[in-house]
């Protein structure tokens, strides 16, 4: 059976299928706010450690420690969260510690409490004052936008030279 919904917190300390999850919802409905079975949510509670790979999740909320690879359209690493490995998604918000690569399709928000070591690839990046970033930042698809704007001084010198050449020719 396909696991659609993983809910892991310091209370449960395990990953479970949707059916198992349902029964816990009924017993302790107030504890779990991710009660919708169709929402592909991963929630790693504070104090929980996970090693491995998370794929196909829609919303990932990490307050614990995660080592490995995560592919999720929405990733939220809270201030107590620690991540080691490769992270890729569309909308990513970082408030905790990251060591590794971050790859964002759309919006990457780095909050004040964040501490990042590694490579960041982004489309839209916002960093709050106080965040610590050590490593390489790359803008997606900026190879083209850069080449068109290369060194205006050299460009204009060239055009002047061209004009002079033309004059000499005449």
């Amino acid at each position: 059976m396909q696991i659609k919904h993983i809910f892991i917190s310091s209370l449960y300390k395990a990953s479970m299928s949707t059916e198992e999850h349902k029964s816990i919802d009924q017993d302790e409905g107030s504890v779990n706010e991710y009660s919708d079975n169709d929402s592909k949510t991963v929630n790693v509670g504070a104090g929980v450690r996970i090693e491995g790979r998370i794929d196909g999740a829609e919303v990932s909320d990490i307050s614990g420690t995660l080592s490995g690879t995560i592919n999720s359209s929405n990733i939220n690493l809270n201030s107590s969260g620690i991540f080691n490995g490769d992270m890729s998604g569309s909308d990513i918000t970082i408030s905790g510690n990251v060591e590794g690569d971050i790859n964002s399709d759309q919006y990457l928000i780095v909050n004040q409490s964040a501490n990042i070591k590694g490579t960041i690839e982004y489309s839209s990046l916002q960093v709050s004052y106080g965040a610590k970033i050590q490593g390489t930042i790359r803008h997606r698809g900026s190879v083209h936008s850069y080449s068109t704007n290369l060194d205006p001084i050299e460009k204009e010198d060239k055009t002047e030279n061209d004009l002079n050449d033309q004059k000499e020719d005449v």
């Binding site: 919006y107 990046l125 916002q126 960093v127 965040a131 970033i133 900026s142 060194d151 205006p152 001084i153």
Partner: protein
């Protein structure tokens, strides 16, 4: 008519006089748009730069406006970038605005980056 005209003149004299004093108190250098510099700029307090520079800039506060282009090294305590930079940036407080395009190395103590900026750089944090 003559009375009205003389009172107007007095006001003008006062305002221009005050403006001159303010200018002297601030050590501000303005380098306007379309200025091209090959070399280095060094100032004490504040540089407002909107031109093209190949070389180095050094000042405590540097403001690179949206049409500026700098190829080289920028050193300062507080640096705000709206323009294009190709080179090394050394700053205590670095503010990167949405129109900025940065390529090179960035060494900083504090940084904030606005949405929309294009950065291809290596970042080095020091406390």
């Amino acid at each position: 008519m003559s009375i009205f005209g003389s009172s107007e003149k007095k006001v003008e004299e006062k305002t221009t006089f005050n403006f001159d004093i303010d200018k002297e108190n601030i050590n501000q250098s303005n380098l306007a748009k379309d200025i091209k510099i090959n070399g280095s700029i060094e100032a004490k307090d504040y540089i407002d730069f909107a031109g093209y520079l190949t070389g180095t800039i050094k000042s405590s506060t540097i403001y690179l406006k949206s049409n500026s282009y700098v190829k080289g090294t920028i050193t300062g305590d507080t640096i705000t970038i709206e323009g294009e930079v190709d080179g090394d940036i050394h700053a205590k407080d670095l503010h990167i605005k949405s129109t900025a395009k940065i390529k090179g190395n960035i060494r900083y103590n504090n940084i904030d980056i606005q949405n929309g900026s294009i950065i291809n750089a290596d970042l080095f944090y020091s406390s």
